[in-house]
């Protein structure tokens, strides 16, 4: 790896682009992700930029237990994200379905069945600091060899 690539990797690891998708949750976790953007937690001071465009994203936050309508769309979104990419499951719903995982509900958790998940943040909802820590801890994994993975 050349020195230039190393510098690029370092710089990139300080500018993480995040996109989030709600595949059928109660919106509680969405609000916690929004709270990360607020000055109290201020996600942008770590260089994490949340803008809902999968084509520019590095990290995809998946929120909610998967409803049947989302199965194909979630796959499309995941395909749109350029390599290298990771997905982080936010909250209990993508992990286990939480309170929606009952007889008679139209959900099919866990989300790992559809896209590969790199990290899970349990909680209903998780604290914004937990979400922040999860994104910051998966970021080195994707940016360690970002340059080599470039097509």
């Amino acid at each position: 790896m050349s020195i230039l690539q190393k510098i690029k990797n370092t710089v990139r690891s300080r500018s993480i682009h995040v996109s989030y998708v709600d595949v059928g949750s109660c919106n509680g976790c969405d609000i916690e992700v929004l709270a990360c953007l607020a000055p109290r937690y201020d996600i942008e001071q770590y260089g994490i930029y949340v803008h809902n465009n999968p084509r520019e994203a590095d990290v995809l936050l998946v929120i909610g237990s998967v409803t049947p309508q989302w199965v194909d769309k979630l796959h499309d979104i995941w395909e749109k994200i350029p390599e290298p990419k990771v997905a982080v499951a936010i909250g209990n719903c993508p992990i286990s379905g939480c309170v929606y995982n009952r007889r008679g509900t139209l959900t099919s958790p866990p989300v790992e069945k559809y896209i590969p998940i790199a990290a899970q943040v349990p909680g209903c909802p998780p604290r914004p600091t937990e979400i922040l820590n999860a994104i910051l801890s998966v970021a080195p994994l994707i940016f360690k060899d970002y340059e080599e993975k470039q097509p």
Binding site: S96, C98, N101, R102, C124, R127, T129
Partner: protein
């Protein structure tokens, strides 16, 4: 001119430059009263399963057998951190945030009982519920096969052509009657109510 010089000097201060580029607000600390996943206090679990019965999330808590007794286990991907298991536990086996302190200070508790309900429209008066009930059998061993009984102490008995519930409070919630009912006419429901010590006396 003076102000320009002032600002240049101000912005060239090493401390200012350091703060401008590197200062971050420290990751906010979790407050001590945060209601996190329940942790064990070390008290002995008596396996009353109150925690499992009150838990609103599926598969979030299980009381497991260990080498020397029982122990509740919390599953983080399922637990919603509501803290009801901490409140419901009569032995204070679990602790989370300041729930135990607050319940001790306010003298609050969760009180539960079992409610029996018989749908007279579908009940066919076979008396299976009265006969199969283990509490009934203990109180009145002479309980007839038709469910009639001469004892007034039984939970329920067939009386004047229909099942009459006499002592609901004696029900232990085993649901044997539900299992033995041929057309699901009898229902056992666990009711939970929050009570405060002073309030109950008044």
């Amino acid at each position: 001119m003076r102000s320009i010089v002032y600002y240049l000097r101000e912005f060239l201060r090493p401390e200012w430059i350091r703060k401008f580029f590197f200062a971050k607000t420290a990751p906010l600390e979790t407050p001590s009263y945060f209601k996190d996943y329940p942790s064990l206090t070390g008290n002995e679990c008596v396996a009353c399963l109150s925690c499992m019965m009150i838990c609103p999330a599926p598969d979030a808590i299980a009381v497991l057998r260990t080498r020397d007794g029982w122990e509740p286990e919390i599953y983080p991907g399922h637990c919603i951190r509501c803290g009801l298991c901490v409140e419901a536990c009569p032995e204070a086996v679990l602790a989370s945030g300041r729930i135990l302190d607050v319940t001790a200070r306010d003298g609050t508790a969760l009180w539960s009982w079992y409610r029996l309900e018989i749908d007279d429209k579908i009940c066919m008066r076979c008396g299976n519920c009265c006969v199969s009930c283990p509490v009934n059998r203990e109180i009145d061993p002479q309980l007839a096969g038709s469910g009639t009984s001469s004892s007034d102490e039984v939970i329920m008995r067939v009386e004047a052509g229909r099942v009459r519930i006499l002592h609901e409070e004696k029900c232990t919630g085993c649901k044997t009657c539900e299992l033995n009912c041929p057309n699901r006419a009898i229902r056992v429901a666990r009711m939970v109510e929050g009570v405060q010590i002073g309030e109950a006396e008044a």
